[in-house]
């Protein structure tokens, strides 16, 4: 490690102002701060700083995603061998899934970070860390067999149109990972929906319908058992199937204080409440399905824990977080049950609420100001 530090210190002057590689300063800076805690100190105002800068925050989220990723890798192999009717050992299943998922991660990171670096160089600012998490999320929310060029295209779209045109990390209105998924969903519906895509290299005779797919055509009795869906032994996008693995990530995020428990809790509450309301009417089997089933089906859990809590696109005020999360849960269930064109409502619900988050914050702040002004007036009188 010492040698690396020395090497970085040795080449550093070339990237400083006036050095011969000055153009690549932002690239150099990105690598240096990625490897070591930056030396920058405050020079006025408060002098005590948390060491938790944006890079560490992002790394915590990536660690929280690892249970879902590992389970997803295994599940890709597990579903593949089931569909073929073959039995395979644990490691065979895992290895198969590993080889399927690894290219997705590589493509996502290479393309996304490539664009980030190019924009940082052109605009002359530091490379933003936001993509560390986005690049990890994107492979987890696509089907395992998605063609790699489609994935690359969606990453390009998400990073440029979803993020860079608004000014880069921290300025985006929509969650970039979900923007990538929405792009794929609308641009290439054949590869992103239906019963054929959720199991890698599936045998034709085997029905690969996800639980949402069964529900869409009204086959509620064909649903896997609740425990299967909770543990995640079901076809689906790579990282979304296992509610258990996501729960582990959620506990980690809440314990470290990175993820907002307000949003997670209220999203779940919103989904449950809307599920119960549908239960009251129960016109068809889908509406009669127990409300808590919604929490383990499809991307609900993954969206609630990793997507809705994105600090940039969520509401910022405490009360706003409850409203924002609750409405995500409600909308996701409404879209699922009431609109057969979009079997997965979570993506659209979160994107929609991303757009409304600033509005929610605005009214929360206004009402706070009003309340306090009232207090001031009473005292004055």
């Amino acid at each position: 490690m010492k040698a690396l530090r020395n090497y970085i210190d040795k080449i550093k002057p070339q990237f400083e102002k006036g050095g011969k590689l000055e153009k690549f300063h932002s690239t150099f800076d990105a690598f240096e701060t990625f490897l070591y805690v930056p030396k920058t100190v405050t020079f006025r105002g408060s002098h005590i700083r948390d060491t938790l800068d944006m890079k560490r925050t992002m790394i915590v989220v990536v660690i929280a995603l690892i249970p879902a990723l590992l389970f997803g890798m295994w599940n890709v192999g597990f579903q593949h061998f089931i569909s073929l009717g073959e039995t395979a050992g644990f490691w065979d299943q895992f290895w198969y899934g590993f080889l399927k998922v690894l290219p997705l991660i590589i493509v996502s990171y290479v393309v996304g970070l490539g664009i980030e670096f190019i924009f940082a160089q052109i605009r002359g600012h530091e490379v933003n860390e936001g993509y560390l998490v986005t690049g990890f999320l994107i492979p987890l929310i696509v089907p395992p067999d998605i063609p790699l060029w489609m994935l690359a295209l969606s990453v390009v779209f998400a990073v440029i149109i979803g993020k860079e045109v608004f000014g880069g990390t921290g300025m985006n209105i929509l969650n970039p990972a979900l923007t990538a998924r929405a792009f794929l969903f609308f641009a290439y519906p054949a590869e992103m929906s239906g019963d054929k895509v959720w199991i890698a290299e599936k045998a034709d005779a085997f029905s690969g319908a996800t639980p949402l797919g069964h529900l869409l055509v009204g086959d509620v009795d064909k649903l896997p058992s609740f425990s299967d869906m909770f543990y995640g032994f079901i076809p689906g996008s790579v990282g979304e199937t296992s509610t258990l693995a996501i729960l582990i990530g959620a506990i980690f995020l809440i314990a470290t204080g990175i993820g907002s428990w307000r949003i997670m809790i209220s999203t779940v509450a919103g989904g449950l409440v809307m599920g119960w309301i549908f239960n009251l009417f129960a016109i068809n089997d889908y509406m009669a399905m127990p409300a808590y089933y919604h929490l383990v089906i499809g991307g609900f859990a993954f969206g609630a824990v990793f997507m809705a809590t994105d600090p940039v696109t969520a509401s910022q005020t405490g009360m706003g977080k409850y409203i924002y999360g609750f409405l995500i849960g409600v909308l996701a269930v409404i879209i699922r049950v009431a609109n057969p064109a979009y079997p997965e409502g979570m993506m659209l619900a979160i994107l929609l609420m991303n757009v409304f988050a600033p509005l929610i914050d605005h009214y929360i702040i206004q009402s706070n100001i009003k309340r306090r002004l009232k207090r001031v007036k009473i005292k004055a009188a």
């Binding site: 063609p147 060029w149 489609m150 149109i161 045109v165 792009f183 609308f186 641009a187 290439y188 519906p189 054949a190 590869e191």
Partner: protein, 218 residues
């Protein structure tokens, strides 16, 4: 029309040429003034209807400008909007009938959008802003210029939407001829949906503003 031009000024003087050229870039009706967005979304799925729509708008705009410019001293200010609307509506009906007679298929594709040229903000905008205060010949040039500024954006958007969304250019299966489907390429369904037209217009605005710094507002 040209009879009204004062003998001192040639037909294509520098001033008149500017009327033609400025709307193409610096005062483009779509990308700078952000007018006429509605039809830019609606008719740009394919190249052919976009071109026909462009020609229709150029024709209506140029002649409406000329007619209003001829009438400008006789129109009472209070009723000028309704007079402008009557002129535009008459021209649009003419265009619609001509399309139905000579290009029936395209006119069916454009359907209601030919009629909606009446409400196109670009046309009312130019009549109010230019034709009411200028002579017929400059008004004609202004109409052609603004129509062309609208047209090139429409055609660029339609070209990309048709090429990437349907794999064709003017109905020719270009992508199939290239053989790109054999290596796993698929048409992009998002390109056919209206939001993509806005995103492409947005990208054109982005490119235009980064080339033309004076358009950047704070």
């Amino acid at each position: 029309m040209s009879a009204e031009v004062s003998p001192k000024e040639p037909l294509f003087s520098a001033k008149n040429k500017k009327l033609l050229a400025v709307p193409l870039n610096r005062e483009n009706p779509i990308t700078v003034q952000v007018l006429g967005i509605c039809s830019a979304l609606a008719v740009t799925v394919k190249l052919e209807p976009a071109v026909v729509m462009s020609i229709s708008v150029i024709a209506v705009l140029a002649f409406a400008n000329v007619i209003i410019s001829l009438l400008r001293n006789t129109i009472a200010p209070r009723i000028r909007i309704i007079v402008q609307l009557v002129v535009i509506a008459a021209l649009v009906i003419l265009v619609d009938q001509i399309l139905k007679a000579f290009a029936y298929e395209v006119s069916k594709q454009l359907s209601v959008f030919v009629g909606l040229i009446i409400t196109n903000c670009i046309i009312m905008g130019r009549l109010e802003a230019f034709a009411m205060g200028n002579k017929p010949w400059p008004s004609f040039m202004d109409g052609i210029g603004n129509g062309a500024g609208y047209a090139w954006i429409l055609i660029v958007v339609a070209f990309f939407r048709e090429l990437l969304g349907s794999g064709t250019v003017w109905g020719l299966p270009v992508m199939e001829k290239v053989g790109i489907y054999n290596i796993g390429y698929t048409n992009n369904g998002l390109m056919i949906l209206p939001p993509m037209a806005l995103i492409i217009v947005g990208i054109i605005i982005w490119v235009q503003r980064s080339k033309n710094k004076e358009l950047i507002e704070d």
